[in-house]
């Protein structure tokens, strides 16, 4: 029987109940969130469960939402069940003041560099990571450049007037 989003959802609800929230299906991909302290339990369950079997980590990255107080940073996991060819997206949100999230390195070797990249750009502190240091930027850098408070261009520039273009 094909693994559908409904089956995945009910299987997860059976195990975790109300701890999983934010169910969505944008463009057909099942998306949900949970408390950040649950992330390893959820990933492990998705990996181990014979019915689910999400054993391939496609992608790991973060998103910064400066307006969501207490949930500014989202760590997004894209997982893939290669046998059934189903993808899911799992997010955990964390406070930007204390961005501690457990590392998924023990489960997926692929997570190692992806977590380093996420740390490098967003400052997410992956607790338990074997080698959490910057990967693409220089080690002396003191900020996390993909956070929204860092503009791309020098804001003091006066030679560009965007007023007529409806930009913000």
């Amino acid at each position: 029987m094909a693994l559908t989003n409904e089956i995945i959802r009910s299987r997860l609800m059976e195990k975790f109940g109300e701890q999983l929230t934010g169910w969505e299906e944008p463009y057909g991909m099942l998306t949900f969130t949970s408390d950040k302290n649950l992330n390893l339990k959820v990933l492990q369950f998705l990996y181990d469960d014979s019915e689910l079997g999400f054993k391939f980590m496609t992608d790991l990255c973060a998103v910064h939402y400066p307006n969501q107080e207490g949930k500014e940073l989202a760590v997004v996991y894209h997982l893939h069940n290669l046998k059934e060819n189903v993808r899911i997206r799992y997010k955990v949100f964390t406070d930007i003041q204390k961005p501690d999230v457990y590392t998924a390195c023990a489960l997926f070797s692929a997570a190692n560099w992806m977590e380093r990249e996420t740390y490098d750009f967003f400052g997410v502190n992956f607790v338990g990571h074997p080698n959490l240091k910057r990967i693409l930027n220089v080690e002396e850098m003191e900020y996390f450049p993909l956070r929204k408070e860092y503009p791309l261009e020098d804001q003091k520039r006066t030679d560009k007037d965007d007023e007529m273009f409806g930009r913000d």
Binding site: P26, Y27, M29, T31, K55, F56, M57, T58, D59, C61, V63, H64, V76, H78, L82, N85, R87, R89, F108, S109, A110, N112, W113, M114, E117, F121, R134, I135, L136, N137, V138, P145, L146, Y150, L152, E153, F165, G166, R167, D168
Partner: protein, 406 residues
Amino acid sequence: MSEHVTLPEGNVEKHTTTINLGPTHPATHGVFQNIIELDGETIVSAEQTVGYIHRAFEKIAEHRAPYQITPLTDRLNYCSAPLNNFGWHITCERLLGIKTPKRVDYLRIIIMELSRISDHLICNSIVGVDSGAFSGFLYLMQYRELIYEIYEEICGSRLTTNMGRIGGFERNFTNQAFEKLERFMKEWPPALKEFDEMFVRNRIFMDRTIGVGPISAERALNYGFTGPNLRAAGVDYDVRIHTPYSSYQDFDFTIPVGSTGDCYDRFLVRDQEMWQSMEIIKQAYQKVQEFKGAEAEVYHADVPDFYLPDKKDVYTKMEALIYHFKIIMGETALPVGEIYSSIEGANGELGFYLITDGGRAPYRLHFRRPCFIYYQAYSELTKGGLLSDAIITMSSLNLIAGELDA
């Protein structure tokens, strides 16, 4: 600096030798560094440093309208730029719900498979160079030139192509483009056959590559390998089959797989993929020829909000000028959405994770770069091997610095 470099006080010697492979070593074929700890000629450990050509594409993309992001994608895997361009355009089309005409899909497939060939031929001939046979590389370069001439005919540029539009191509393929394609289809297979004869059963080459840098299917999956490197380990995962895009489901082709995941298998998988790509190109060309009447002229979908109007209309018609201006300045907002879309790039699953908030530019765009993900396995692949094997392992993984660093 890392502790490898500073020797303990009073001690001038140690058991192992530290060498720097890179960042600008000719054997790395790109800008990345490996700090290798050698015991004699055996590698004890290798530590990779990447980021030398990091250009902050993800940050730049948050401030750019869709068409201004296409040139950024060129510079990811610059050996097969059209694949990246189309991957981005397909992502936008999925977000916007645009359905492309069949002819566009087939034309895209021709170009995508040509790019795959041009990428694999570089990789495989470089493996040849690193095993001591230079002539194959120079010889195949002529045929990459033929591919680049086809690109040139279609979009005007060669390496960083910036090819195509959301919904299709900027102009129809000219007769010269098809003539050049026919020339390539005629001249390339015999050359590839010669190349195969030179390497595939060559004793020296086999001795240099069999059992070198192997990885099991299980480890490869755990490391997030995709593309030829994963298939060489024996997993038949290919995005073209698993999640068909651009009408790949209309084509008949096989996915070559290896078994040991060593350099030789990676070489063979890429080699067979080039033959399969040739089959796909033949079928696609056939299908393109079969279109009749008005259908035979279609080269883009009808999406005036995102497809740039014809240049001559822009100069003469008011409406076209307005649309041109709006699209270039990014005045047509992208709908709010969140999408992950991927294509089979030359190195594996090239993914675009796009979040839009209704503005002119993406709220967040993340590139899933296959190179970056599988390069972390390099120290595991080379540990315990010889230094000369580490170099051939690196080239057989097809590491492209642009894709590593984004």
